[in-house]
C-alpha cells in the first residue's frame, strides 16, 4: 500500500494493457497555495477507483485535472495512452472522458431524452431524429434497469434520476473513463444502491470509473482501488482489500500530530448558565434536529466534512434560512425563532458568513462603512450619520482585529483577503453580539492574518462573548475551541471536550466517517 503505482499485471506487452490514465508529476497551484503536489498515479482499465481525503486534500482538484477542466501547473496526464488536452470539454470527450459533477448539468426544461443527447444529438441535415434518440434512450434505460419516462422534463425528475441521465449521457457518448465527483451525497440509500449497480454493470462492460467520495463505507463497498490524498499529496494507494476505514483515516491525517500551536484558552467555570441554547434546529435537507449549548466565554467548534450541514446550522440560528425551525433560548429566556437576520441580531446573535465577497461585504464601500453597517444607529448624531463617529468607532474596531486603523477609508474591493476578513469580523463585532457565529473565519487568507483573527476571537471569548466556529480546517477548529461538535450528513454525531487535552484531527474524522471508537 506504500507503493505509489497501482498493480498492473500484464505490463510487459507494450500497448496491450494501457492504463486508463497516467498522471506524471502533476502539480497545481492556485495563487500561492499548492492544491496538488507532484501527483503520480495511474489507474487500471475497467476498474473503479476511489479518491478520498480530508477537505481540501486535493482529490476534487485531481478529478478536475482528469476531466480536463483544471489545467495543471506542471506535469502530464495520459488518457488511454494519449496525452490529455486540457481546457476543452470537447477534446476530453474525444479522449473518452465523461464527467459527472455534483452540480448536475442537466437542462431542466428539456425532456429526459433531450438531456441525454444534449450536445450530440442524432440529426439528419440539421433536423433532429427524435425517433432514433428515443429508441436509444429506451435501450440505455433497459441496460441500466431504471424507469425514467423519456418525455418528462428533466427538472421534474428526482436528483437520482437526473444523475442517472448524466450517466446515460456519458455512457451513450461512448465514454470509457467516467469521473464522478461525490456522486452519492444527494442520494437516498436505495438510490445509492441503484447507482452502485449501474457502476458495477459499467465495470463489467469495461468502463473505467474514478470517483471522489466522503463516504468511506461506500468506498470500501464499491471501489477496486482506493487512493488517499493529504494536503495536495498522494498519501497512499492500494487495492480495496488492503484498506480499512481506520487505516484510511490514518492515511488522510498522516503522522499523528498532537502538538498544535494552541491558543491559550480559559475554560468557562463549571456551572455557568448557558448563554445560548438551541434545540431541535432543523433545516429540511441540510440539518436534522440539532441541539447545542454555548456558554459565555466559550468557543464551540463544529467539525465535519463539507456538506455535513455545519453552515446550515449556523445560518439557521442566524435567521438567514427562513425554512428552518427550532427553539432558541438566550440567557435562559426563550426567544422567538429568528426568521430574519435582523431578528437574530436583536437577540445579540451576530453571524459572519463564509463567503466574504458575495455574502459579507459591500465591496464598493469603504471599510468604515462596512464595519458600521450592522449597527448604524450607533454612529448617528442628531438623527444624521456622523462621519466623525463613523471614523472613530471604525478605527477602534479595526484596531481590535489587527486591521490598520488608518485604512478604514479604503474601499473594501481594494483590500487583501485577510484584511477583508478582518473588516467582516469587525462588522459583526460592531453590533456588540453576545453570541458570535463565524463560518470559515480564515478561508483563503495568509497565515499572519489567520493568527491575528484567531487571537482576536479568543480575546472576545475571554471578554464573555460566546463564539461558534465552523471551519474546514480541522486543525484550526481544534486549535481554538473549548469543545467540538462533530456533524455528519446533517446530524450531530459526536461531542469532543478539549478541557482535558486536545483532541486529534483523526478523532474528528473518525466520528465524521463513523469509525467505531475502538476499531482503530
Amino acid at each position: 500500500m506504500s507503493d505509489t503505482t497501482l498493480d498492473r499485471p500484464r505490463k510487459t506487452v507494450a500497448g496491450a494493457e494501457r492504463a486508463a490514465f497516467r498522471a506524471t508529476q502533476v502539480t497545481k497551484r492556485f495563487g500561492g497555495t499548492l492544491a496538488l503536489d507532484q501527483i503520480e498515479l495511474e489507474a487500471e482499465q475497467g476498474k473503479i477507483h476511489a479518491l478520498v481525503g480530508e477537505n481540501g486534500a486535493g482529490k476534487s482538484t485531481f478529478l478536475g485535472v482528469l476531466a480536463g477542466r483544471v489545467v495543471p501547473s506542471e506535469g502530464e496526464v495520459e488518457i488511454f495512452g494519449q496525452p490529455h488536452v486540457f481546457g476543452s470539454p470537447r477534446e476530453a470527450r474525444r479522449l473518452g472522458i465523461g464527467a459527472i459533477y455534483q452540480e448536475l448539468t442537466i437542462v431542466p426544461r428539456l425532456s429526459a431524452v433531450a438531456n441525454v443527447f444534449l450536445g450530440q444529438p442524432y440529426a439528419k441535415r440539421g433536423l433532429l431524429s427524435e425517433r432514433r434518440m428515443r429508441e436509444e434512450f429506451l435501450e440505455l434505460r433497459d441496460r441500466f434497469d431504471v424507469s425514467i419516462d423519456p418525455d418528462t422534463p428533466a427538472g421534474a425528475l428526482s436528483t437520482a434520476d437526473q444523475q442517472m441521465l448524466e450517466i446515460m449521457r456519458g455512457a451513450r457518448s461512448g465514454a470509457e473513463l467516467l469521473l464522478f465527483d461525490e456522486p452519492t451525497t444527494s442520494l437516498a440509500p436505495p438510490e445509492r444502491e441503484g447507482l452502485f449497480q449501474v457502476m458495477e454493470q459499467l465495470r463489467e462492460q469495461g468502463t473505467t470509473m474514478v470517483f471522489v467520495s466522503h463516504n468511506l463505507e461506500e468506498v470500501l463497498h464499491i471501489a477496486d482501488t482506493i487512493t488517499v490524498f493529504r494536503d495536495g499529496k498522494l498519501s497512499a494507494t492500494g487495492p480495496r482489500t488492503e484498506w480499512t476505514k481506520a487505516s484510511m483515516v490514518r492515511s488522510m491525517v498522516g503522522h499523528e500530530v498532537t502538538e498544535y500551536r494552541r491558543v491559550e484558552r480559559a475554560a468557562p467555570a463549571p456551572g455557568t448558565p448557558p448563554l445560548l441554547n438551541a434545540k431541535g434546529v432543523t433545516l429540511p435537507g441540510a440539518c436534522e434536529a440539532i441541539s447545542l449549548e454555548l456558554k459565555a466565554g466559550e468557543i464551540l467548534g463544529i467539525g465535519g466534512l463539507v456538506g455535513a450541514g455545519r453552515s446550515s446550522l449556523l445560518r439557521s440560528i442566524a435567521g438567514v434560512e427562513p425554512m428552518s425551525r427550532g427553539e432558541l433560548f438566550v440567557e435562559g429566556r426563550q426567544v422567538p425563532w429568528p426568521r430574519r437576520p435582523r431578528h437574530a441580531i436583536k437577540h445579540g446573535i451576530a453571524f459572519v458568513p463564509e463567503d466574504r465577497k458575495s455574502q459579507g461585504l459591500v465591496l464598493g464601500m469603504r471599510a468604515a462603512d462596512n464595519i458600521v453597517m450592522s449597527n448604524m444607529g450607533e454612529v448617528m448624531r442628531g438623527g444624521v450619520l456622523s462621519e466623525r463617529k463613523i471614523a472613530a468607532t471604525s478605527r477602534e474596531i479595526a484596531a481590535e482585529f489587527g486591521y490598520s486603523a488608518d485604512r478604514v477609508g479604503t474601499t473594501v474591493r481594494n483590500l487583501s483577503g485577510g484584511n477583508q476578513q478582518k473588516v467582516l469580523l469587525g462588522k459583526a463585532r460592531f453590533c456588540n453580539p453576545r453570541v458570535l457565529m463565524v463560518d470559515e473565519p480564515t478561508r483563503g487568507i495568509d497565515i499572519g492574518a489567520k493568527d491575528e483573527i484567531m487571537g482576536t476571537l479568543r480575546k472576545l471569548a475571554d471578554e464573555g462573548v460566546g463564539i461558534i466556529v465552523v471551519s474546514s480546517d480541522l486543525e484550526e477548529v481544534i486549535q481554538i475551541s473549548n469543545r467540538i461538535l462533530v456533524m455528519a450528513h446533517g446530524h450531530l454525531v459526536d461531542e469532543l471536550d478539549q478541557s482535558a487535552g486536545p483532541v486529534a484531527v483523526s478523532d474528528i474524522l473518525n466520528s465524521a466517517f463513523g469509525v467505531e471508537k475502538n476499531a482503530s
Binding site: 438567514v320 437576520p341 453571524f351 464598493g364 453597517m373 450592522s374 444607529g377 462621519e387 477609508g409 453590533c431
Partner: protein, 328 residues
C-alpha cells in the same frame, strides 16, 4: 477618511497626486464634460448664460429633474422604474381635474396620495412578488397610463381655477417656484443619500443585497420605498408641468422614464447599483438641459437631438462599465 466625502465611495485622504490619478479622472470626468459643453455652448449660443435663459432652462427641466432625483435612489438600490411617465401623466390629469372641486392644496394632496399608492404597488410587486423591476414597472406603467386616459376620458383637463398655473409659472423671491422646488428636492435628496441611515442602507443594498440583509437591514422595505418615492416625485413633476401649461393631459409623460434614467446614468450613477450620487444627477440634468437649449437656439431639428442624446446615453453607460473594469 475626511468628513467632506460626498459619497461612501470616495476614498478621502488628499494630496495633489490623488487628483491626477486615473480613478479620479474617471470619477469626475462628467464634470469636465459639462464644463466643455458650457464652453462650446456659449460659443455656439452667446445668450446661454443670460439670466432669463438660465431660469428658462432650469424651470423647463424641473419636472424631469425631480423625477431624476427619485430615479437616482432607485438605480442606486439596483432597481429600475419604467412606470414614472404614466404616474407623471396620472398626476397631471388628477391635479388639473381636481383643482376646481378640491382647491389647489386639496388637488395636490390627492395627487400625492394617489401617486404614493402607485409607487407602493410597484414596490410591493418588486419586493414581495419578486417580479423583475423592469417587467413589473413596464406592466404597471401600462396600467397607470391606461388609468390616466380612462380618468380623463382622453380629453385635456382644463381647470377654471385662476391660480392653477402658479406652481409652474409663479415666482418666489424673483425666481420661478418650480426652480425652488427643484433645488429643495435636490438638496434633500443629496442629504438623505449621503447622511442618513436610510441613504447608507440604499448603497449597501445596491452594492450587495445579501450582505445588507445579513447586516440586519430591512432590504424589502427600503427597496420598496424607493418606488414609492419615484411615484410621489413623478406626481409632483406632473403637477408642475400641468400647472405650467394650464392643462393636464394623459399623454404628458412621453419618454420621461427613459429621459430620467438617461439623466442619472449620464451623471455617472451606475445601472449596476451601489454607486452614484445626487450631484451626479444634477450634472446629468444640466448636461441634457444645456444641450437641449443650445440645440433649440440653433434651431436643430428635435429628431436630430434625439439621435445625439441616444448616443450620449450609450457612451455614458459604456464608459461606466469600462471604468469599472479597469478599476477591478
Amino acid at each position: 477618511m475626511q468628513a467632506k466625502a460626498s459619497s461612501p465611495q470616495s476614498t478621502g485622504s488628499g494630496g495633489l497626486r490623488q487628483y491626477l490619478n486615473r480613478d479620479l479622472v474617471l470619477q469626475y470626468g462628467v464634470v469636465w464634460a459639462f464644463c466643455l459643453l458650457l464652453v462650446f455652448g456659449v460659443i455656439a449660443y452667446p445668450g446661454l448664460f443670460a439670466l432669463r435663459n438660465v431660469q428658462n432652462i432650469l424651470s423647463q427641466s424641473a419636472p424631469l429633474g425631480i423625477v431624476s432625483v427619485a430615479m437616482t435612489f432607485v438605480l442606486i438600490s439596483r432597481g429600475f422604474d419604467l412606470s414614472v411617465a404614466s404616474i407623471f401623466a396620472l398626476g397631471a390629469v388628477i391635479f388639473a381635474n381636481r383643482a376646481d372641486p378640491f382647491g389647489l392644496w386639496g388637488a395636490a394632496l390627492t395627487v400625492i396620495v394617489v401617486t404614493f399608492i402607485c409607487g407602493a404597488i410597484n414596490g410591493f410587486i418588486v419586493t414581495k412578488l419578486n417580479v423583475n423591476p423592469f417587467v413589473a414597472t413596464l406592466g404597471t406603467g401600462s396600467v397607470f397610463g391606461g388609468a390616466a386616459f380612462l380618468y380623463s376620458n382622453s380629453a385635456p383637463q382644463v381647470p377654471d381655477h385662476f391660480d392653477f398655473i402658479i406652481l409652474g409659472t409663479g415666482r418666489f423671491l424673483g425666481w420661478p417656484i418650480s426652480i425652488w422646488l427643484l433645488l429643495v428636492i435636490f438638496l434633500v435628496g443629496a442629504f438623505v443619500l449621503s447622511r442618513t441611515v436610510y441613504g447608507r442602507s440604499l448603497y449597501a443594498l445596491g452594492g450587495n443585497e445579501e450582505a445588507a440583509r445579513l447586516s440586519g437591514i430591512r432590504v424589502d422595505l427600503i427597496r420598496g420605498s424607493t418606488y414609492a418615492l419615484t411615484g410621489v416625485c413623478s406626481g409632483l413633476g406632473g403637477m408642475i408641468l400641468a400647472s405650467r401649461l394650464g392643462v393636464g393631459q394623459a399623454d404628458m409623460g412621453g419618454s420621461l422614464a427613459l429621459d430620467a434614467i438617461a439623466v442619472v446614468v449620464i451623471g455617472g450613477t451606475s445601472l449596476l447599483g451601489g454607486e452614484g450620487a445626487i450631484w451626479r444627477t444634477a450634472i446629468g440634468l444640466l448636461i441634457i438641459a444645456t444641450l437641449t437649449n443650445v440645440f433649440d437656439s440653433l434651431a436643430i431639428n428635435t429628431n436630430v437631438q434625439q439621435v445625439v442624446k441616444g448616443f450620449i446615453v450609450i457612451a455614458a453607460v459604456a464608459l461606466d462599465i469600462y471604468a469599472r473594469r479597469i478599476r477591478a
